[in-house]
């Protein structure tokens, strides 16, 4: 007994080192798997507050860009609206409203911390639970998708960026509805990869890739990027496409969080036990 205590006292520094190192390894491994890094993240009072005041200063330098983005978006929305109005022969604002209002709600949010040079990138937004933001909501800009909400606190939330090895989403070719899976292999912050695209798909360089609407996170038809290059993968059955994003992931200012009002219903339906009936 005496010897054990002596041993502990003699090696107390090494034991302390081993113990703390073990803790940090646990945190690190958690951070590498999606949805598990519970304790150490930037959606908290201290780091959220520091980043908020920093982005308050930085915003002044970006006002011109943000204005430009808003103008472009306004123009596009106006164009869509006029197309929509001319497409509906007997336009009645009440029926139009009732038929379109429903599945998705858009919540504007400000990016207070963006990262794009690591292998697993996380973005911090200045919206949180009090703005009814919850995990698994999609995040987009006017030009394309950004990621989805990973964790929320009262005032802040973190986004699992597209530029993260844990990010995957279902996409289609705009021209033909063939599907594939979008992911990031960590090379360049504006280039992503689509895998598992059927070999029969009519793939052309310059074609547009968009969301498929199958995931309950993103609505259908949000543009993502254009095909820059494509090859057949090792099995010779699937294409591997490299896609240049429309969105500049290195300069994000304002984004929209998408609330899918039907997501709970869809999830409940999908998770229902098949033996139940």
């Amino acid at each position: 007994m005496q010897q054990i205590i002596n041993f502990l006292i003699r090696n107390k520094n090494f034991l302390l080192f081993a113990f703390l190192f073990f803790i940090s390894l646990v945190f690190t491994i958690q951070s590498h798997s999606y949805h598990k890094s519970k304790f150490i993240n930037s959606a908290n009072f201290l780091s959220g507050g520091v980043y908020e005041s920093l982005s308050g200063v930085q915003d002044y330098f970006h006002l011109k860009t943000y204005n430009q983005q808003l103008l472009e978006e306004n123009a596009r929305l106006r164009e869509n609206q006029s197309k929509l109005l001319s497409a509906i022969p007997s336009f009645d604002s009440l029926t139009l409203y009732n038929s379109i209002e429903g599945q998705y709600r858009y919540i504007p949010a400000k990016v207070i911390k963006n990262s794009y040079s690591k292998t697993d990138n996380i973005i911090t937004l200045k919206v949180g639970r009090r703005d009814s933001i919850f995990p698994e909501m999609g995040v987009i800009t006017s030009k394309g998708i950004v990621g989805f909400i990973e964790k929320t606190s009262t005032k802040y939330s973190t986004v699992l960026s597209m530029l993260n090895s844990n990010f995957k989403t279902n996409v289609t070719l705009r021209s033909s509805n063939h599907q594939g899976t979008l992911e990031w292999h960590g090379e360049h912050p504006n280039v992503m990869t689509v895998i598992d695209m059927q070999e029969q798909a009519p793939v052309k360089i310059g074609d547009t890739i968009e969301t498929s609407g199958k995931s309950a996170i993103f609505p259908k038809g949000i543009p993502i990027g254009t095909i820059e290059n494509f090859t057949l993968d090792n099995s010779k059955n699937f294409y591997e496409l490299s896609v240049r994003l429309f969105n500049d992931m290195t300069s994000l200012g304002h984004v929209y969080v998408i609330e899918n009002k039907d997501s709970e219903e869809i999830k409940a339906l999908e998770n229902r036990d098949p033996n139940e009936e």
Partner: protein
């Protein structure tokens, strides 16, 4: 003693804020982000209690992890250099370290360079290994360690020389 505590707290806050607000935004050539915040661990008083020093290094890393959403990578890296600092000190300064006779402001440039850069490279190797977390990318880890290590060492040396108090 009280004075020492105050100086270290101020140094901690300034270096971490500089790291989070300025240096984390540097993205030189696409992958080089320097980490001069570790200067805090390098210049922490040499005669401090060893266990306390390990805990403080761990907390320093964990604070930065919180800001950069990196789990516990910085904590592990800081802890490692804190644990191996006596080895680096003995290798660099030899016998004068054993007698508690060295003060960082009074050593030669060469000794300072060896001491700082050796620990910087250990820190970066642990940090990037944990960040990439894939042994098949070992060349990428080494390349990133080398170039970022050079950048961080230069910054640490500059800050250390600029802000050291020679009279002390």
């Amino acid at each position: 003693m009280k004075n020492n505590f105050l100086i270290n707290s101020v140094r901690f806050i300034i270096l971490l804020l500089a790291q989070v607000l300025v240096f984390n935004n540097i993205d030189f050539m696409g992958y080089i982000t320097p980490y001069p915040y570790m200067l805090f661990i390098l210049v922490f008083p040499f005669n401090a209690n060893r266990s306390l020093y390990l805990c403080i290094a761990f907390l320093t890393g964990l604070t930065l992890d919180m800001f950069s959403n990196s789990g516990g990578m910085h904590a592990a890296a800081c802890l490692t250099i804190a644990y191996f600092r006596p080895v680096a000190l003995r290798l660099t300064f030899g016998v004068s370290y054993e007698y508690n006779a060295i003060k960082l402001p009074n050593v030669t440039f060469y000794e300072r360079l060896v001491y700082i850069s050796s620990l910087v490279f250990v820190h970066h190797l642990v940090l990037f290994s944990l960040e990439v977390f894939n042994i098949s990318n070992i060349l990428y880890i080494l390349k990133k360690t080398l170039f970022t290590g050079i950048f961080t060492s230069i910054l640490c040396l500059l800050f250390n020389i600029l802000f050291s108090n020679r009279k002390g």
